[in-house]
Point group: C2
Chain length 142, copies 2
Amino acid sequence: MGLPQESFGGILHETARLWRTELDRRLRPLGLSQAKWRALLHIACHKDCTQAELAARLGVEAPTVVGLLDRLAADGLVERRECPHDRRSKTVHLRQGGQALMKPITEMAENLSRELLANMSPEEVACSTQVLQRIRDRLLSL
Amino acid sequence: MGLPQESFGGILHETARLWRTELDRRLRPLGLSQAKWRALLHIACHKDCTQAELAARLGVEAPTVVGLLDRLAADGLVERRECPHDRRSKTVHLRQGGQALMKPITEMAENLSRELLANMSPEEVACSTQVLQRIRDRLLSL
DNA sequence: CGCTAACTATTAGCATGCTAACAGATAGGC
DNA sequence: GCCTATCTGTTAGCATGCTAATAGTTAGCG
């Protein structure tokens, strides 16, 4: 039957948590975290993005984005603006402080990824990526 | 450079979160979750386990186990007992209600795993498992 | 023996995620 | 045009994880 830590789900879960904790640890001197960094990157890449769009891109629920933006706005990194042609919506924009953080953040994330995948062959990484993507797609189609 | 959702770390993170959310959704009618189920399984398999041992086996920090056991004890599923030969430690034990849940819980977790891995070849699953294990080991050795 | 170091569980406080329930705004069907 | 559906953001409340700090206990070194 297999103990939980040896099952695929168990290893997936633990590896993801450790990865995130390590990245959070490295980003902490900048007052950041993986969740904040991912949000900033999407906001930078997709101008005039609404909160609902941002939630879909990040793959999380709307209330999660509300809290995340509250913290990022409190840090002075982003701001919400009312959408002119739809009074329900708000668009999210990077402020100067947020823009300045983009480069060091991205470098840290890529460095960690390189370190962790260093002794894997490209074939192994490609195979695993594809497996994870197919699991994700199946979960999204439930 | 690649957007975050397309990076290995991003896909790993999202897939793990979706897997856990789906399992939590299915376990909810039983008043359970993935974290509770994993703890119960380890407690059942390792008699007279201390909280520190349990934390190490689950791969989480000690305060996380404190909260988890508080909730499981409030549900009447487990109990703490003082360790006779070390007054710092407490051992954790399954109560009757917890024992009764083991079988349906394990079946649900295995069913989900089977569903999600159904259209993967054994070689692909083996390769991905190995890659995840190596990443995990590297993270643990930081 | 005694003192310091390490271990054990706990508390407090925070971040990130979820669901449920809501209020306001829009859009679509009649 | 209007009424209902749906969409958008928000709040409230919870679960799971973390770090830092604390109190009590044990163990190890001189």
